[in-house]
């Protein structure tokens, strides 16, 4: 049962929240914005198209989209989205993180496969920023494991300990993971998802040479990645109930929409940083997580 429902949610909903973000940004800018389901239309359109391959490219370019989508879907199976995760075991947080890393590995290689400077640039930035954001991500995991005493995503988000609190630790962690979310999904202060200037792009730069079904798969993958990291961030403040109930689905819709609106708002009010500033911000994020660890350890009695 959990298998079915979780797979269904994971497969179908992610593009919707991208639509919510776009809508929020549009309303901030005083526009009407695209319909909420625009991303589905886009995907369907892309899946109908053929593609153009570069003569420089190899099987890496052709395999990468499937790798990206399958790693993210697998990672999604470890997350307690609606009740317990379909598979969970002690240490699955690490697997979760490394599955995301595998997706990134495939994406970077696919970018380098076409032998162009633009893709190379995007790939290089993605790789470096990924390494820096991994710092904060793993430190955040340590904090969560130390607080919850479990190294499994299902165990971590079991929040017997959340409600008396909303303790500062969680807000700090939420801030940290929210920023990781923005960085990993190439959102606004780090990368501009709607830019059309090749030299400044990160994520868009990497997928410049993709088209048709492959591009559709990659965009779909990005939507899942955003969905999963949103899940991570929002579950810190307000976890999903562990036993499956119909209202968990409603809660999921509500909370994720809230997150999407928050991302849209942040993206509307910030400007993209100079690239040289990005590692600094990621390090700042690391320091905040470090502080969260210390607060978690020393602020226990209060």
């Amino acid at each position: 049962m959990t298998w079915l429902i979780q797979s269904a949610v994971l497969l179908t909903t992610p593009p919707f929240f991208l639509g919510v973000i776009a809508k929020t940004k549009a309303s901030f800018a005083g526009r009407k914005g695209p319909p909420l389901l625009q991303n589905y239309y886009d995907l369907i359109k892309l899946f109908r198209k053929g593609t153009v391959h570069s003569p420089a490219s190899s099987f890496v370019l052709r395999l990468a989209p499937a790798v990206i989508v399958s790693t993210l879907l697998t990672a999604g199976l470890f997350f307690p989205l609606l009740g317990r995760a379909p598979i969970f075991f002690e240490g699955d947080v690490i697997l979760f993180a490394y599955l995301l890393a595998l997706g990134r590995f495939a994406m970077i290689l696919a970018a380098l496969d076409v032998g162009s400077g633009f893709q190379g640039m995007g790939a290089s930035r993605e790789a470096a920023f990924g390494a820096f954001s991994e710092l904060a991500f793993f430190l955040g995991l340590v904090v969560l494991v130390v607080i919850s005493g479990s190294a499994s995503l299902t165990g971590i988000f079991q929040w017997k300990w959340i409600h008396p609190a909303w303790r500062p630790v969680f807000l700090l962690l939420f801030a940290a993971f929210f920023f990781i979310l923005l960085a990993e999904n190439s959102r606004m202060p780090v990368d501009d998802p709607s830019t059309h200037l090749e030299l400044t792009m990160i994520h868009e730069g990497m997928i410049l040479d993709y088209g048709g079904i492959d591009l559709g798969l990659i965009l779909y993958g990005s939507a899942i990645k955003l969905f999963l990291l949103m899940a991570f961030a929002i579950s810190l403040l307000w976890p999903q109930p562990l036993a499956w109930h119909w209202h968990s689905a409603a809660l999921l819709g509500l909370k994720w929409t809230g997150m999407a609106v928050a991302i849209g708002a942040v993206e509307s009010v910030t400007a993209r940083l100079r690239l040289i500033k990005v590692p600094q911000l990621l390090i700042a994020n690391f320091v905040v997580t470090l502080f969260a660890l210390l607060v978690a350890l020393f602020g226990r009695r209060v």
Binding site: R167, P168, P279, I283, A284, F286, L294, F298, R301
Partner: protein, 212 residues
């Protein structure tokens, strides 16, 4: 209460990592607001005149007077609004991380007073004091020096919270007065350095040594 302490440390981090002087000043002001809320809370009662008075005084000085003064001198001095640290901001932030680890793991070695204050108070105070020191060491501009000094003093103020039950009001008022005078003197000096040298780099202060 933890919220406030976490906020104070976070503002210190922001000051450490931001490259613009005006945002530094704004953060110091914010830190002042957070600090002013603390005394009544530590005293345990919102209607306690000692705490309230301290809150009002520190709000007036730390949040209003000094930042306004700094902002004015920033405007008058017409300097480049960048911090220009000697240590790059990346490493400043990493140093901040090291400081917070040292402060949190080392505070148990100190003979600290015990009392009904949150466990985070002393490590947070230590962190803020150390970050203040680091700012003083690693920045050259006079305004950033003042900011570092303020952060340092805010840390001391946090330490003072551990004793707020036992100490008479006059001590804290003295500290606040001290701060006020210190910043005032620095403000005058910024003015003078600016008039004399056309910039406000503290490296030029060596020639004004006798003024302090």
């Amino acid at each position: 209460m933890d919220w406030l302490l976490v906020g104070v440390v976070l503002t210190a981090f922001v000051i450490l990592g931001s490259s613009r002087l005006d945002s530094c000043i704004r953060m110091v002001a914010l830190q002042g607001v957070l600090l002013s809320i603390l005394p009544p809370m530590v005293r345990g009662s919102l209607l306690d005149w000692h705490g309230l008075f301290l809150a009002a005084a520190s709000l007036a000085i730390k949040t209003v007077a000094i930042p306004v003064l700094l902002a004015r001198s920033l405007k008058q001095a017409k300097i480049k609004r960048e911090v220009e640290p000697t240590v790059s901001l990346h490493y400043s932030l990493l140093a901040g991380g090291a400081i917070v680890v040292i402060a949190f793991s080392g505070f148990k070695l100190l003979p600290v007073p015990t009392g009904p204050f949150p466990t985070l108070l002393i490590p947070a105070a230590l962190t803020v004091v150390f970050i203040g020191f680091f700012l003083l060491i690693s920045r050259f501009k006079a305004i950033t020096q003042v900011i570092g000094f303020l952060v340092l003093e805010n840390g001391v103020f946090l330490f003072g919270m551990t004793l707020i039950r036992d100490f008479p009001l006059t001590v804290e008022m003295g500290v606040l007065l001290d701060l006020w005078v210190g910043v005032f003197v620095m403000g005058i000096m910024i003015h003078h350095i600016h008039r004399t040298f056309d910039h406000i780099d503290t490296k030029a202060m060596a020639s004004l040594k006798d003024a302090e």
